[in-house]
Amino acid sequence: MVDIKDFGEYETAWCPGCGNFGILDALKKALVACGLGPHEVLIVSGIGQAAKIPHYLNVNVFNGLHGRAVPVATGAKLAHPGLTVIAESGDGCMYGEGGNHFISAIRRNIDITMIVHNNQVYGLTKGQASPTSDEGFVTKAQPHGVYSSPFNPLAVAVALDAGFVARGYAGMKEHLTDLIVRAIRHRGFSLVDILQPCVSFNKVNTYAWYKERCRELPIGYDPTDRELAFRTALLFGGRIPLGVIYEKTGRPVFEDRFTALKNGPLAVQKTDFDALRAIIADLA
């Protein structure tokens, strides 16, 4: 039996009160609930405050470059489909620097879980606007307020017909745990966008601000209804819906399409020199 203690307890470099703590807790609980041993999990992250999360967990870790968690996770899953692969990082990392990879991972429908700590600001580089910052959000780098409109990851994911699209909030840990469990269990690409208060650099989207707005989706909400999902994904203001906004099963999973992967991880596959000899002979 896996126990939460198996995933370790570490000192972190996060500010006291940061939303990342709630996410770390929920993630550990979710891994336990999924019955996964630490060695069965690989967490790939980028660079940022959020991206430090795998260092605070006992799991396999690849902490790569800013924006590049998803392609590394994709390669890892293609080499070893049996691993539970989670790509986890901040909103700047995943949606800004890594935007193209986000889109492509959805299109591939590779079975990885993408967890984004969405604090609507760049934490590690001290408070510049992120792709999800609201228009008008004032920072040292955007003294007249952000000019661009915010990136809506949920709407983009629904538009691309992603298999699993959910929003959680770092301040509602149990609900978040459940979302992460469902995302990991979903076969195919899944996105969990998590609203995460940054107590140091985001003085607008605070715990109080989220508490007033975040609401679980109503009982009876049908996540398979794509039009409804799209309308729901557009809601962000007076009320912010939380939960599984869209779920679609049955789409082929990317790694299942490769014949090579039918025989397990690439690392244990033989090199067939007879086949290679035949390929060379064919060039005569």
Partner: protein
């Protein structure tokens, strides 16, 4: 008439099927026992433009392309205008299509055959007869190759070929009996392939299991060759969203134990450099093929150059060990790629293969590669008796740490792009930083131990040394050979590996020659400068080419 060797150029617009003619003809020559060397010239367009497919064939291995032609096949008027000057006095012209009656002295393929929709097989029929290769040989080839590609048009293609062959028999008077040129006992023994195919085969022989790429000429045929054989060889090849994704995917796959590679050209490699540095820091093996073409930026997309040596040498921020192979022949493309995978695994880091458009697209006839004694890479260890806690970056004497793969044992594998502790976790402890830099640097010894010595041809104490690297090898060798035949004291020193340099392998030779000439396909003599930087030995004489075309022996000899 008899020939020691034979040079033919087929020119025309893209879309006229000249590559089909060229490939069938090359294959027929190889099957009749010739050695061949193909040089392809094309423009960055799918239809129109001016394209060439040149074959130099002989009973002896042709080392480089040559400008002087025995036969010119013109599918359009431009080909005649541009290449007639290269035709030998008694050379033969075969003209087709819009090349009209003014193609004076040429054998004109009849109009109805040209307009039949099977222009290229008709031209091939005339050509086959005129150079004296048997019809049956071609018919078999057409069945084997065109039959696979376009089975629905096989009968018409065969009919067009035969009709043209018969027409030539009764309507032409001159004939060059090339088949005798190549009458050697080699027939049926060679295989025909280009540099990129040889790289892909070398990768497969090393147990490559993963490749990610974003298409860029002239590298694309490396992944395409892998894709064609992916099911037979259990490979995963993925077209990534961009080169940044490609290198990161390869690193992710390699971290999980798949021997991995990427292939690109300068512009795509520019995007990959961040990932190269990541491979250096996380100590992840990866093989990177860079097929050079002229830059800067997108430069001349379909031409050749050797100007990315300095870029590849310095690509990626920070300092870490690397090796750069620059194969000079098809055989070297195969064997060095095989070695690159083993070296990447042994040194746990990036290893480069620097090739170029000329070599990438140059078909040659070679002996089938001998696979005896070649073993695939075994990536990391899977289950282990290593004591917990496992430390991915354990500080060792060799600098190489024990590599476990995630998910194969209870041990957790932690890799990090930030400076890290032995157990893989990020650190800002500056004493750990220093220890890790030293550990990573000790891996140079692993790389240096394996340096491929340069190849030398010529007298023991030559007056002049011609120095080449990468694909210029053949032209350099031919120039050297011709000078030696003329009684001059000349040696050829060729580097198939350009980094790192092991001075004791060559410095003595360079210092004892009166004159050293560096032959390079770039405008600044990058390799000569690298040798000076590393050894202090200054090579002042250079023959440089940067007009987009490959070296020929004549080009070198005229400038020496």
């Amino acid at each position: 008439m008899s020939f020691d060797e034979f040079n033919i150029l087929i020119g025309g617009e893209a879309g006229q099927g000249l590559v089909t003619i060229g490939e069938l003809l090359s294959r027929a020559m190889v099957r009749s026992g010739c050695y061949i060397l193909v040089t392809q010239g094309y423009q960055s367009r799918i239809r129109g433009g001016h394209n060439t497919f040149s074959i130099r064939a002989g009973a002896d291995l042709p080392l480089a392309p040559q400008d002087e032609l025995d036969v010119l096949v013109a599918l359009d008027p431009e080909t005649l205008d541009l290449h007639r000057k290269d035709l030998k006095k008694d050379g033969l012209i075969i003209a087709s299509g819009s090349v009209g009656v003014d193609a004076d002295g040429a054998v004109l393929v009849p109009r109805d055959m040209v307009l039949s929709g099977f222009e290229n097989t008709a031209v091939l029929g005339v050509l086959a007869f005129l150079i004296g290769i048997e019809s049956a040989l071609f018919e078999g080839l057409i069945r084997d190759t065109l039959g696979k590609k376009h089975p629905e048009a096989l009968d018409e293609n065969l009919a067009a070929f035969k009709k043209a062959y018969e027409w030539a028999k009764t309507n032409t008077s001159r004939r060059m009996d090339v088949s005798k040129t190549c009458k050697t006992d080699r027939s049926g023994r060679s295989v025909m392939l280009n540099g990129n195919q040889a790289i892909a085969l070398g990768a497969m022989s090393a147990g490559a299991k993963f490749c990610a790429f974003y298409p860029m000429t002239p590298s694309t045929s490396v992944p395409l060759t892998l894709i064609a054989n992916a099911d037979a060889m259990d490979l995963v090849v993925e077209q990534a969203e961009d080169e940044i994704a490609a290198i990161n995917m390869a690193i992710g796959a390699s971290f999980c134990g798949a021997p991995s590679m990427v292939a690109t050209s300068g512009g795509g490699f520019a995007l990959m450099t961040e990932g190269i540095s990541l491979a250096g820091m996380t100590e992840t093996p990866v093989v990177i093929v860079v097929a050079q073409r002229p830059g800067p930026a997108t430069g001349l997309p379909t031409r050749t150059e050797q100007a990315d040596l300095e870029f590849v040498l310095h690509a990626g921020h920070g300092e870490f060990a690397r090796a750069i192979f620059a194969p000079g022949s098809i055989e070297a493309c195969f064997h060095l790629t095989h070695r690159a995978f083993h070296l990447a695994e042994a040194s746990q880091g990036p290893v480069f293969i620097l090739t170029d458009q000329f070599l990438a697209d140059s078909y040659r006839a070679v002996e089938p590669f001998n696979l005896e004694g070649l073993a695939p890479v075994r990536a990391g260890a899977r289950v282990s008796d290593i004591e917990a806690p496992y430390r991915r970056y354990l500080i060792t004497e060799s600098g190489v740490s024990p590599r476990l793969l995630p998910g194969f044992s209870r041990h957790l594998v932690v890799a990090d792009s930030d400076e890290h502790t032995e157990d893989g976790h990020l650190t800002e402890d500056l004493s750990v930083r220093e220890a890790m830099v030293k550990k990573r640097f000790r891996k140079w010894t692993v790389v240096l131990k394996e340096v491929e010595p340069p190849e030398y041809h010529g007298p023991e104490a030559p007056e002049t040394i011609l120095l080449t690297w990468g694909s210029s090898r053949g032209a350099g060798l031919e120039a050297g050979k011709r000078l030696r035949q003329g009684g001059e004291s000349v040696g050829n020193l060729h580097f198939d590996q350009v980094w790192p340099l092991a001075q004791d392998q060559f410095l003595g030779r360079l210092s004892s020659a009166k004159r050293v000439v560096s032959i390079e396909g770039n405008a600044t003599g990058q390799f000569a400068r690298l040798i000076r930087r590393e050894t202090g030995f200054d090579i002042k004489d250079r023959v440089l080419r940067y007009d987009g075309l490959p070296f020929t022996a004549d080009y070198i000899l005229e400038r020496l």
